[in-house]
Symmetry: C2
Subunit: 125 residues, 2 copies
Amino acid sequence: MESTTIMKVVNKDIKQSGCQASLAAVGDALYAIGGKWKLPIIVALSHSDKRFNELQRYVEGISAKVLSNELKDLEMNGFINRNIDTGFPVAVRYELTSYSHTLQNVLHALSDWGEMHREKIMKNK
Amino acid sequence: MESTTIMKVVNKDIKQSGCQASLAAVGDALYAIGGKWKLPIIVALSHSDKRFNELQRYVEGISAKVLSNELKDLEMNGFINRNIDTGFPVAVRYELTSYSHTLQNVLHALSDWGEMHREKIMKNK
């Protein structure tokens, strides 16, 4: 929904301006990693791989159903691996793929900006 | 909600690892520009300033009430200016502040990643 919205916006802008093609790529990015839960899940897994219940505790507020769907989605899009540790009891672990690490620049940019933004807020107070 | 979630995740990770302080900044960034509508609105205004109705057409699916609230929020946080053109009829225009342009790196990173991601998807097809 968010991604659809931004892509429409982006597409209109491209038609209007003819010079903002790169914004379409922003739409593509948000299509893949936008939404309410995907980045929180990726951040939660960035420290260490986790089991389903563990992940649900980390990403507070997410229901089991939604988490399950988001994990399927992230797996389908190559962001995470679902590993089954055969043993007793059988445990399923989720881990980031190497492809997830291509998001490093995005996370760095968000991180740098967030830090700068926090400092600005603090100064204004 | 999204930002609250990610900040909780981030805070836990920092406590656990002691080495991921920069992720807290990602949480701060998403607190300010996360959610469903903020980036679409910023993208819509990045081409040119717009009036309320115009903006509502660009950001498809947003209700007048939500757009109004998001604009107030963005104005309060220094991302947009609300200009009143006194004339007949009185027109209100929204424009990005120079502070919004500090988001350039974030948008570039998202754009680069989105382009790479699209190419990957295309190859897989």
